[in-house]
Symmetry: C2
Subunit: 315 residues, 2 copies
């Protein structure tokens, strides 16, 4: 994979008609609490409620016409499925979304609302991949992998391009890491635009494979414990790790309590709804895992899709 | 009271260093649901989490130096108390805030965090006024009434000035009405800036004194039933009604269920936190109390201070 800043700039032009240019918000109380100047890129306000709209839209609109007409397929229990379904609807092509049978009803309805076909499978990684392979064998649809696809990575990188356009003089950019689509795109774009900027990712302690991989210099798959940050349970991808290893400065980990506390702080002081995964970078700052004193820090708030009847502080 | 647009413009200059210029957000799903173009003025992102920062800051900074040094006093169980406390701290003068003894702890702490003195009283309107009069007799502080004070009204009117600067061609502006500080300031400013604009307020059915007063052409005080929109339980003030009667086109009422449904819709589709009172205008649209089809509608989202452990859909 030879992704470059040009790929990300091209992605930005391609997806611009279909995504929001999300606002960058500040929060004086969080600045006071951390001694830094924090700039939050609000991808919770993005289409489908998460940055995933960027990568999926870029991948779907990068297909040539003949290929696109055969449709697209993916497996996802979360935001990527909705993002692919929406992009396919915008392009007017079929979409097949493999979802675990125990997916939240609201997520199933979101995918169906875009006219996509939902294919249910057992809730294991193996079953998801098998079911998706079957769908592709039957339909000749193109797989849009949620983080390894280079067009997805390029699309995710467009968020930090906008952030750096709006706040040019950031010293540090932070995002969470799961499969590594956002982190790879963010790090590649940020370091290409600002060679001296730092890029630090944050990850739940209970799903710390990316941090372990970063220390080891090779991809390490780990058995996952439960984390409230459901968007970050995935192991980091090989193509993602190659980019991460080259461009990322550090990966830090945070406790579950810190994630919940940070999420609540963001809700209460900024009056915006972010999902647990989105709160992970701020949790790392708040837990003292990174020293940000006096710095200008950009943080990508990845999404805002939460079940309002099951908030973590009420459980 | 001879409030004019000039008073509101002067208020805007006076408070500008101390308040946020809040963003105007749109929500494509709410536009689809209503057939209108809705523009939400996000005073939930305002200092202290509500538009009340505008009026209180204007009133406190309008005092001459000698008067201001004797301090300010008010009675409030909600956002106005925090707003006066914050403004007094910014000006470096004492503040005495009378609060019902059953006020939420988080609201008491907010007031105390600005260094104000909290005076507790029995949770009745009569007890609040008596306690506040006692404080003023003892301290010679100046009363900053939460909605009847003309400088408060002028300050509240600055929100719609910003809204019309950002979205000049609105056909309709909406806000909720309780005591009428926001509505009077909004209507006066909007009609002065755009004589052809419509201004419509919304109110809970369970606290419909302003709607009744509007129909009758004189202030009618009603026995209040409970409403989830705790910011709107107050009866409309006489000076407020004089302005409202002159400039407001209509006042509509909404059910409790509609308020909760509207609040949840705003949270889920816009990913922002608004308090029940802030959801009342959108509830009126959603309940079909106003026909907004094809119109460009500005809605003032009044605040975002809610208890995250007691959300109405979980009760």
């Amino acid at each position: 994979m030879r992704l470059k800043l040009d790929s990300i700039r091209a992605a930005h032009e391609r997806i611009r008609p279909y995504i929001h240019r999300t606002p960058v918000l500040t929060g004086s109380r969080l600045n006071q609490a951390t001694g830094a100047s924090l700039f939050f890129k609000c991808e919770n306000f993005q289409k489908i409620g998460a940055f995933k709209a960027r990568g999926a839209t870029n991948a779907v609109f990068s297909l040539d016409d003949a290929t696109s007409r055969r449709g697209v397929a993916t497996h996802s229990s979360g935001n990527h499925g909705a993002a692919v379904a929406r992009a396919a609807k915008l392009r007017g092509i079929p979409a097949h979304i493999v979802m675990p049978s125990n997916s939240a009803k609201v997520k199933i309805r979101a995918v169906e609302s875009y006219g996509a076909r939902v294919v249910f499978c057992e809730p294991t990684e193996q079953a998801r991949e098998t079911a998706c392979a079957d769908v592709i064998a039957q339909t000749d649809a193109t797989l849009i992998h949620s983080f390894e696809n280079p067009d997805v990575i390029a699309g995710q990188g467009t968020a930090v391009v906008e952030l750096l356009e709006d706040v040019p003089d950031l010293g540090l950019v932070m995002c969470p890491v799961g499969g590594g689509g956002l982190l790879a795109g963010t790090a590649l774009a940020a370091k290409s635009m600002r060679p001296n900027i730092k890029v630090i990712a944050a990850e739940p302690e209970n799903a710390d494979d990316a941090a372990q991989s970063f220390r080891a210099g090779r991809v390490i798959h780990t058995e996952k414990k439960f984390t409230i940050a459901d968007g970050l349970r995935t192991n980091v991808g090989e193509p993602n790790f190659a980019i991460i290893r080259r461009y990322v400065d550090d990966i830090v980990t945070v406790s579950e309590d810190a994630i919940i506390f940070a999420m609540r702080m963001i809700w209460e002081t900024m009056k915006i709804i972010v999902e647990p995964s989105a709160a992970v970078p701020y949790a790392a700052i708040q837990e003292g895992k990174i020293d940000v004193g006096g710095q200008r820090v950009g943080i990508i708030l990845t999404g805002g899709n939460v079940d309002l009847e099951a908030l973590p502080w009420n459980l």
